[in-house]
Amino acid sequence: MTFAFTVNGSPVEVEVTGSRRLLDVLREDLGLTGTKEGCGEGECGACSILVDGDVVDACLVPVSQAAGTEVRTVEGLAESGTLGVLQQAFLETGGAQCGICTPGMLMAGEAFLASGAEATEEAIREAIAGNLCRCTGYTKIIDAIALAAERRSVA
């Protein structure tokens, strides 16, 4: 079957079986390997992407459910070749170490920032609770999201 949706603003059409995981469509059919697989069963959040603005685990979404939606991945975060505000904040605070959870963390962070919620530590912890990180202890990730929130509110 053919499924049409947008990825990072660009329309795409894929000809695959409807139960194929959106994760595989992104990584293997569209070559967008920025989205990572950590567990394949929705526990780690490494494959977090945005579908119509909501954070979802791409390993749990069959491509059929993505038809007609707007999908955003880590590849869409940099603006005209420069890091986006949240990416820059991760770089400056040390929010990325090994980097494998980073794309998913960024997408969860993007959704949180877009929600307009007040960037308290508790709210940020809640927002990234579905994304496991084994390197940082989360403190510097939380700092990064808070910094990005501050910069966006100023901008």
Binding site: V16, T17, S19, R21, D24, T33, G34, T35, K36, E37, G38, C39, G40, E41, E43, C44, A46, L60, P62, V74, E75, L77, A78, L83, Q87, A89, F90, L91, E92, T93, G94, A96, Q97, C98, G99, I100, C101, P103, L106, T120, E121, I124, R125, E126, I128, A129, L132, R134, C135, T136, G137, Y138, T139, K140, I141, I142, D143, A146, L147, E150
Partner: protein, 797 residues
């Protein structure tokens, strides 16, 4: 500064050595306020690639025409392999099958011992659940999945051993002895005994093990993978594939965390991928899913530590008798070195004239255990710190004051006879953490809360403290034997390139190396490149383990930079920065020379066990739910003396991440085993701390530079892993009044201790009873395109 006073009723204070006057240099962290960026220049070198999704991890590499590989594993803990049966009804022409007979070289995963086969041969003994017995590969995943359903292992079950205390197969034993522990114990005024047990811990890097083998036209083989130690894999390939230095090539892909888990295991998966690639003459991808990764790869060694401490009537620690038993699992892997480090750290960072430490590592029929951040020390230092806290309780002394009195100071002598001549930051980190966490005041508060607690109270708060030391670099004579090389080159087109095999796995190698080289050469950070970790390009700088990269390899690079700079300036007569672009090509290879000190004698376990030690103190504050036994860690403040700090932000990242791994080890991370098989072998059942489980982590970096390294750095990676667990368990005791001797301190263990109920079984020891029939690994639904929602008839994509 005032001499610390031991407050005790039973043991009067004696003359303790004066606290050195030198105030530690503490780098202000400024970190706690969310939303505050620290000026952190240089920024992570590969950060932008990781933040945009451009960084290529092994599974991201596109290799045209690659087949998919899979491992056929044992599903019994111990058995004789009688045959490997291929279903005749299946079309095997589309699949390659590799058995032990296909191995061109030795059927050995090259490590310390030669006991682990690459694949169990027919007639050979299967020694653990998940042991590799055959390999298959196919051009597509659907065929591969189908094929694995048509291959069966015929076995004869043998009686397994699960309890290391019952095992008669020993991997290693060591004895460290100083003074006369037996006589001193007999004369001690008080003797405190304890038995402490810790279980397996999974590294749980978020990127699973992954390797892609690519056969080359010249008959060689290149593997690209997620790994810490390119030359370990290289050595293993040469031996099992019977290839020379140039034919076997290992290239590190971007690596999504290691923590020791990608120290030795990548040799196994690389050999498997390479054997399949040799046979099908195509590139082969071996990408584990999480279930296979947890089921089959190495864990932290479980251990039982028996401890006796003697205290004199003047309040001195006069005798320590310590027995360490570690469970190595089915094969040796790195177990002797893990045990060695565990034994050498077992006394904790405390002065004692009479010490006997014995250690034994035993085999069991469980998957082999291996390297994990801390490498034996977290196990024994948990025991040491539990013991110190229990001594403090027995003597009615403050745990802080007791440590102030006993902690090593300059000039003290360790159990191996090593004189701690310099860079002894134990007292400094103790004071820094205690002050930052207001330990005394918090302890007084929790005490008054405890005394005022009513029967209806639901939550109890406690605070705990732990102190540790961690030897920097390889143990004993290890660095001398490694003889690492790090190189710097000036290319003919005027670029400065760092050539080392030290890998980046998040800890910051690719940032700090250019940083220190640029500093030594007097050029900008961006002018220094770093060559890929590819064994055909870089020399063997040793493995990226043991907190040795910054100290050992970084030190070699500074020396190499000094030489390169001098040569260029001599040749051009101008400053390096102004003249190097026209001075190449030129290359400097710097080989390790021993640090000053007494050489370590492997036979007697005397001498300098490590060139220097890092020192760490953690103060944890917890809430314990008195109804459920659930622990919430509210705060954790750490102070770490890592010598000269190269990059504060990256170093803090190491401390914070290591601390949370230690908190997980203390509270929730436990592998359960039945019949030698991990039961909770998925991320839904093996839990690690989430952002909601983690406290805000505060790290204080203390600098007591080590003069043996040109930059004074000592290493940071493992240190925080040693203190988190005993600090949390001390805090649980402060809250509840019960000691939890077994890790992790789960709600079940805490409730059992509080109610005198039956505690769960010992951590790390498999239950004998065969589990109700559970599906074999290959029968379980897997990731990828095999999700449960797929109808069986659905064609594979």
């Amino acid at each position: 500064m005032e001499r610390p006073i031991l407050t005790t009723r039973t043991v009067p204070p004696a003359d303790a050595p004066a606290v050195p006057d030198a105030t530690p240099l503490i780098i202000p962290t400024d970190a706690p306020a969310p939303g505050r960026a620290r000026p952190a220049v240089p920024l992570r070198r590969e950060g932008p690639a990781k933040l945009t999704g451009a960084a290529l991890y092994a599974d991201d590499l596109v290799v045209p025409g690659a087949w998919f590989g899979a491992t056929i594993r044992s599903t019994e803990p111990r058995a004789r392999l009688l045959g490997i049966e291929l279903d005749e009804q299946f079309d095997w022409t589309r699949v390659v099958v590799v058995t032990a007979d296909d191995i061109p070289g030795e059927n050995v995963v090259s490590l310390i011992d030669s006991d682990q086969p690459v694949l169990v041969p027919v007639g050979g003994e299967i020694r653990h659940q998940a042991e590799p017995c055959a390999l298959i590969a196919a051009a597509d995943r659907g065929t591969l999945r189908e094929a694995r359903r048509h291959i069966r292992l015929r076995t004869e079950r043998l009686r397994p051993t699960f309890d290391p205390l019952q095992s008669d197969r020993e991997f290693a034993n060591y004895t460290v002895e100083r003074g006369d522990a037996s006589a001193a114990m007999a004369d001690a005024a008080a003797v405190i005994e304890g038995v402490y047990r810790v279980g397996h811990q999974e590294q749980l890097y978020i990127e699973n093990q992954a390797m892609i083998a690519v056969p080359r036209k010249d008959g060689g083989m290149t593997v690209h993978g997620s790994l810490q130690c390119p030359y370990y894999v290289h050595k293993a390939m040469k031996r099992s594939l019977a290839m020379g230095d140039e034919l076997a090539v290992v290239v590190q892909a971007e690596t999504g965390g290691g923590f020791g888990g990608k120290e030795e295991y990548p040799s196994v998966i690389a050999l498997h991928a390479a054997l399949l690639a040799l046979k099908c003459r195509k590139p082969v991808r071996m990408i584990y899913d999480r279930h296979e990764d947890i089921s089959a790869t190495t864990k932290r060694h479980p251990a039982v530590v028996r401890y006796r401490s003697g205290v004199s009537d003047t309040g001195e620690l006069v005798a320590q008798e310590i027995e360490v038993i570690m469970d190595g699992g089915a094969y040796c892997t790195l177990t002797p070195v893990v045990l060695s480090r565990g034994v050498l750290h077992a006394g904790g960072p405390y002065r004692c004239a009479n010490v006997r430490i014995t250690g034994r590592a035993m085999a069991t029929n469980t998957p082999p255990n291996g390297a994990f951040r801390g490498f034996g020390a977290p196990q024994t230092e948990f025991a040491a710190e539990m013991q110190i806290n229990r001594i403090a309780e027995a003597l009615d002394a403050s745990p802080l004051d007791l440590r102030r009195r006993w902690v090593y100071r300059e000039g003290d002598v360790t159990p191996t006879g090593q004189v701690l001549r310099e860079s002894v930051g134990g007292p400094d980190v103790l004071e820094a953490a205690a002050e930052a966490a207001a330990f005394d005041r918090t302890l007084a508060q929790t005490r008054s809360m405890r005394e005022g607690r009513t029967d209806g109270a639901r939550v109890a708060t406690g605070v705990g403290l732990a102190l540790a030391w961690h030897g920097a670099g390889f143990t004993g004579s290890g660095e001398v034997k490694l003889a690492s090389v790090a190189s710097l080159e000036l290319t003919d087109d005027g670029r400065i390139r760092i050539l080392t095999a030290s890998t980046e796995m998040g800890q910051g190698t690719k940032t700090i190396f250019p940083q220190i080289v640029a500093d030594a050469l007097g050029v900008e950070y961006d002018e220094v490149e770093i060559a890929p970790q590819d064994t055909s390009i870089v020399p063997d700088s040793g493995p990226t383990v043991a907190s040795r990269t910054a100290m050992v390899v970084g030190g070699l690079l500074i020396k190499a930079a000094g030489q390169l700079r001098a040569r260029v300036e001599a040749q051009t007569g101008r400053p390096f920065a102004a003249s190097y672009r026209q001075a190449g090509p030129m290359r400097v290879d710097e080989r390790f020379v021993p640090y000053p000190g007494e050489p370590f004698d492997d036979a007697t376990y005397r001498g300098d066990a490590y060139p220097a030690f890092g020192w760490a103190c953690a103060v944890a504050k917890v809430d314990v739910d008195l109804d459920t036994g659930e622990v919430t860690v509210r705060e954790c403040v750490s102070a770490d003396d890592i010598g000269r700090v190269i990059h504060p932000m990256l170093a803090e990242g190491q401390v914070e991440g290591g601390t949370l791994q230690a908190i997980g080890y203390a509270t929730i991370e436990e592998m359960k085993l039945v019949d030698g098989r991990y039961l909770n072998d998925r991320l839904a059942t093996y839990l690690i701390p989430t952002s909601l489980d983690a406290p805000r982590l505060r790290s204080i970096l203390v600098e007591k530079p080590f003069s043996g390294a040109p930059h004074g750095a000592k290493g940071v990676g493992e240190l925080p892993m040693d203190v988190g667990a005993p600090a949390v368990v001390a805090a649980i005791h402060d809250a509840t009044g019960v000691w939890i001797h077994d890790l992790p301190a789960t709600p079940e263990r805490i409730l059992a201790a509080m109610t005198d109920g039956t505690a769960p079984s010992a951590p790390g020891v498999s239950l004998e009873v065969p589990a109700p029939r559970t599906p074999a690994i290959e029968d379980l639904p897997r990731g990828g395109d095999e999700m449960p929602f797929r109808a069986p008839t659905d064609p594979a994509p």
